[in-house]
């Protein structure tokens, strides 16, 4: 008997069509049909300049958008051969790890809900809301943040971020402890998750699976340890590895990874180089319009040192903040707003990066950079032909390979085992179909 678990189904994971061939309750064969969320990401990236691809990249793995942002920016920066500032790297690491925690919270919460543990879902979404409030304080948005830029990030961390983060992480730890007591030794949960969706190490490698899925099968592969990027080599963290390769191991790996991510965030917060302070220099603050008017009259003496009082929405692009988190790279990074409005070189620099036909122009070349996404190795392969638009942006989606293994994971099991297996895959439609 053929059962169609159609594109619109109750597991709020997105849209996949599973055509399952059944013999009673046992799954004999399965076919997976994807592509219901294909939004032409790669084609859109080819049609817009490098920084314009950042909002598209956000919506790839939309539960951990910051990792996507920074992965893409890393690829283009390596192609341009520029190095971002240390503070920026710390910020990227902190936000990536917060994103990873939200991803795992969503994954475990949703898959627990499908098994009937609705309380766990609500608790985890509550924890996710606290993290999203943190992210909103930094980036301005909860989910699709468009925070990364080639050569830096959009703006610096707000004041008081470190204390706030530490408090939130403590609360999240409390929530995780509660969920742990609810799930980990729960008879029903263990019975449903243990022994289902097993995949061996060799098959997982043949399927090209990476990330927590592979780690649960016994291969300790983590891009942050293998090819460290940003400042991961200065931080101490463990990579949890399972042994059985079943759903229960994946759940445990994800829970432990959240703890490790929190450990990373706390270390990074204590190590981060200090940022600029919001201190006005005595007698040296000008409103922006006065500065522009003075500049028009030619009275520009000392303008490079002056602090400008800009519109609060431009805070973060003022010189102190801007230079803390953006590389001093004229080919790719916009100047601070005081320079854009204050002197002609800044204006020209700004123009050269923004106008149609101009922009970031890496030399011809190709680069593949991999970051550790929440699902596995998220790779960006960028080819440049010297123009301001990338010639080809290819995303190596981690859950694509995991989904290709789904027929093998559910073959031989019961129909009811499809639900926890599918939940532990953490399929994100935006990443799968791009």
């Amino acid at each position: 008997m053929f059962l169609n678990m159609g594109p619109s189904h109750p597991a709020m994971h997105g849209i996949i069509r599973l055509i399952v061939e059944l013999d009673g309750e046992r799954v004999v064969n399965a076919d997976v049909e994807i592509g219901y969320l294909h939004r032409a990401f790669e084609k859109e990236c080819e049609a817009s300049p490098y920084n314009n691809a950042v909002p598209y990249v956000d919506r790839l793995n939309y539960v951990s958008p910051l990792i996507n942002n920074f992965g893409y920016c890393l690829a283009v920066e390596r192609l341009l051969d520029i190095q971002v500032t240390e503070r920026c790297q710390y910020i990227r690491v902190i936000l990536s790890e917060l994103s990873r925690i939200t991803d795992h919270l969503t994954c475990i919460g949703a898959s627990a809900m499908e098994l009937g543990a609705f309380t766990v879902f609500l608790y985890m979404i509550k924890a996710r809301e606290w993290l999203w409030e943190l992210v909103e304080a930094v980036t301005g948005a909860r989910l699709t943040i468009s925070y990364g830029r080639v050569g830096g990030v959009k703006a610096d961390l707000p004041s008081g971020f470190a204390e706030r983060t530490r408090k939130v992480l403590e609360d999240v730890r409390g929530v995780l402890l509660e969920c742990d007591t609810l799930l980990t030794r729960n008879r029903i949960f263990v019975d449903r998750m243990q022994g289902t969706g097993i995949i061996s190490k060799e098959r997982a490698l043949s399927y090209g699976i990476t990330g927590p899925f592979l780690r649960a099968s016994g291969v300790s592969l983590d891009v942050r340890k293998a090819t460290p990027y940003f400042i991961y080599d200065r931080l101490q963290f463990d990579v949890p590895t399972g042994s059985h390769g079943d759903n229960y191991d994946r759940y445990l790996v994800r829970m432990e990874e959240m703890e490790q991510s929190m450990r990373i965030v706390e270390q990074a917060l204590s190590q981060i180089p200090p940022g600029p302070l919001n201190v006005d220099l005595e007698g040296n603050v000008l409103p922006a319009d006065v500065m522009v008017d003075e500049a028009k009259m030619g009275r520009v003496a000392g303008f490079k040192q002056v602090l400008v009082r800009l519109d609060p929405t431009l805070e973060g692009s003022t010189r102190g903040f801007h230079e803390a988190v953006n590389a001093r790279e004229k080919r790719a990074v916009l100047p601070p707003k005081e320079d854009t409005y204050g002197n002609i070189e800044g204006l020209m620099h700004h123009f050269k990066l923004i106008m149609h036909g101009h922009g970031i122009r890496p030399a011809r070349g190709e680069y593949y950079s991999a970051v550790e996404g929440a699902n596995g190795e998220l790779g960006f392969y960028v080819i440049s032909n010297g123009s301001e638009r990338p010639y080809r942006v290819r995303v190596r989606p981690p859950c694509f390979t995991i989904m290709s293994a789904l027929p093998e994971l559910i073959r031989g099991g019961l129909v009811a085992d499809i639900v926890p297996t599918f939940g532990s895959i953490n399929m994100i439609g935006g990443e799968l179909d791009r």
Binding site: I34, G35, H38, A40, E42, K43, E44, E46, A47, R78, L79, D81, R203, L205, S206, Y207, G208, I209, T210, V219, L221, A226, T227, K330, R331, E345, M348, H349, K352, M355, H356, G357, H358, A363, R364, G365, E366, Y367, Y368, A370, E377, G379, Y381, I383, N385, G386, S387, Y391, R392, R394, R396, F400, T401, M403, S404, A405, D433, R434
Partner: protein
């Protein structure tokens, strides 16, 4: 045990007839192969214990037909603008070129391999002639190639011989054309139901 710089040399020594070119732009090892030799080289990459590339990270296609056509979107600019006086050109440590002609070899299939045992990465580019974009499938070696190759067929129209199930994966079967080719406009719609715009 080959490390990064000798990996290409080892491959070149072993397959002198198959390796068209190689480079390590920005520190990444890349090898250009002839398409007839792909299956053989891939098998050696996977099964040779000193190489041991057990993970096929990525398999994608590229359409190079418009590579030289760097089009300025601002109509007043006829030539690329020179660097302004305050920008010093960054000295190029290395340059990159594709080594084959874009007209004769329009398509290219790019394989990214990773060796878990030795933490090595390798990129293999296989240029395909414009008139005949067909290549061997490596599904027999790495299972994930099945879906990757389906996607390349869907997006570019490159055929893989020996593929068990070559049909569209991201788009619907009724879709005409291969959208990631450069001659497919980005907003040309072919709706199944509903209006075109």
């Amino acid at each position: 045990m080959p490390n990064e710089s000798t990996l290409i040399e080892a491959l070149q020594r072993r397959f002198p007839h198959a390796v068209l070119a190689s480079h390590h732009y920005r520190g990444q090892q890349t090898v250009l192969l002839k398409r007839e030799a792909l299956l053989e080289v891939a098998r050696v990459l996977k099964e040779d214990p000193s190489l041991g590339f057990d993970l096929l990270m990525d398999l994608c296609g590229v359409d190079y037909v418009a590579f030289e056509r760097v089009r300025m979107s601002a109509p007043t600019l006829a030539t690329p603008s020179p660097l302004p006086y305050y920008m010093t050109p960054k000295p190029m440590k290395e340059t990159w070129e594709r080594f084959v002609s874009h007209e004769a070899y329009r398509f290219e299939v790019v394989y990214h391999f990773y060796s878990t045992g030795q933490n090595l990465r390798l990129r293999v580019n296989v240029p395909l002639p414009t008139a005949d974009p067909v290549i061997d499938s490596i599904t027999s070696l790495w299972q994930c190639a099945e879906w990757f190759e389906r996607e390349v067929w869907d997006m570019f129209g490159i055929r893989f011989t020996g593929h068990p199930n070559l049909r569209r994966i991201l788009l619907y079967e009724e879709f005409q054309g291969h959208p990631l080719r450069k001659d497919y406009p980005v907003n040309k719609r072919q709706p199944l139901i509903g209006p075109i715009n």
